[in-house]
């Protein structure tokens, strides 16, 4: 336990976390500090491209094993299944309508790529290796959760409908395409390709992540201010209990597949993290009556900071314990 706390302590005193905290504090203090939308989007494209490419190049270097297929399968299963768990938990802990609960559930089945990136960089700084193909697992987990949520809603007859074209939109969503595409480029061009562009995608990576998390802090903080009173104590409890529970399910899957310590951590992080880009946009189209303030506040204002600060060190500690790594 004290070990975990020590780990969390070291984790907290890093430029990455502190940049997020700075953004959060600035927003809560109502500073006008802001990062232009175009720049924030540019940084997220950079992060997706870099993380995908590095994953692909790492697979190219170490070869693919059966773990790839099994991990992607596990990821898809988790993404389909976790919304059901989330929905049940929300029914117990909150008074949200069926619609709002389903919308929130979709977010928790899907993933947050920034949480994944932050976890990667924690693993790196501790010298823990992970399977390069976890990036592909991340991409595979983005969409299925949305289907589960729509099924949850349609079960009782009204509400969510699968608009024509929505499925294609979700699957060809920019971040999935970029992640998978750059993974394939990394795979094809391998070490040589990585060598060519490493001064762009490797060396400055952590610095860009800092600025991006500064922006995430600003957005999360402003979101919290704008939606004060939207979520109660039960919902906040959900925002912490849900990731802890899903991370344990991720842990079990990871151990069964036989992933490395780092791989287990990343699967736990994927399970535990909640989407805040792809799923909200899909919800605005498919479940427009669900309240965005609820799902954005939970995902971005509660679960994201929890994972970033306490969650990741906890998952690292657990995975290390159980893999003996």
């Amino acid at each position: 336990m004290s070990d975990i706390l020590a780990l969390a302590g070291t984790n907290l005193i890093s430029p990455i976390i502190l940049s997020f905290v700075l953004g959060l504090a600035a927003a809560l203090a109502r500073s006008d500090l802001s990062i232009p939308e175009a720049v924030a989007k540019g940084m997220s494209i950079y992060l997706l491209f870099a993380i995908g490419f590095k994953g692909g190049a790492s697979v190219a270097a170490h070869g693919v094993d059966g773990g790839l297929l099994m991990s992607v399968g596990a990821g898809v299963l988790l993404s389909f299944g976790l919304p059901l768990l989330a929905f049940a938990l929300l029914k117990i802990l909150t008074g949200f309508s069926r619609l709002d609960a389903a919308a929130v559930a979709a977010h928790y089945g899907s993933i947050s790529i920034v949480t994944f990136v932050a976890a990667t960089s924690v693993l790196e700084s501790r010298g823990i290796m992970a399977e390069g193909y976890m990036v592909a697992v991340a991409a595979a987990m983005e969409a299925p959760a949305i289907l589960s949520a729509l099924w949850l809603v349609s079960r009782n007859g009204s509400g969510g409908r699968m608009e024509p074209g929505l499925m294609r939109e979700i699957l060809l969503n920019g971040s999935i395409v970029l992640l998978v595409g750059s993974f394939v480029i990394g795979l094809v061009t391998g070490e040589k390709g990585l060598g060519d562009i490493a001064p762009f995608i490797v060396s400055p990576f952590k610095g860009v992540l800092c600025l991006f998390l500064l922006d995430m802090g600003l957005v999360a903080g402003r979101g919290l201010l704008q939606s004060k009173g939207v979520i109660g104590l039960g919902a906040v409890a959900f925002g912490v209990i849900m990731p802890m529970t899903s991370s344990l399910i991720g842990l079990i899957f990871g151990l069964l597949i036989g992933l490395s310590t780092g791989g287990v951590v990343l699967l736990m992080v994927l399970a535990a993290s909640a989407s805040y880009i792809a799923v909200p946009a899909a919800m605005r189209v498919a479940l427009p009556e669900a309240n965005p303030a609820i799902y954005l506040t939970l995902s971005l204002g509660v679960t994201f900071p929890f994972n970033l600060t306490l969650g990741i060190p906890l998952y690292v500690a657990l995975a290390t314990q159980f893999t003996g790594g």
């Binding site: 924030a40 600003l218 402003r222 939606s227 009556e289």
Partner: protein
Amino acid sequence: MQMHPAKRVEIVIENPLVGRLTNALTEAGVTGYTVVPVHGGAGRSGRWTREGQIGQAGMAMVICLIKPERLDTLLEAAFAVVERHIGVVSVTDTLVLRAERF
């Protein structure tokens, strides 16, 4: 200069729906529109600004100039998309140059 009466329809709608709206307009035979970015706003669903957003969210404004007699077709097509969503629709009388374009 020769001016012709027309209607100016202004629709404020969420970004993820802009494509659906313009497709619906095109299907209804509306061939002209202009999309203007929106930085922020407020309405029944609360106050928001671009800076408080991540990803594809936010809103846009779609402006259509149209012959008066085609207004109803347009409004019906637009309403089918806008109906379940937040946003507003307004219609103003206006005059246009080069009527052959509308």
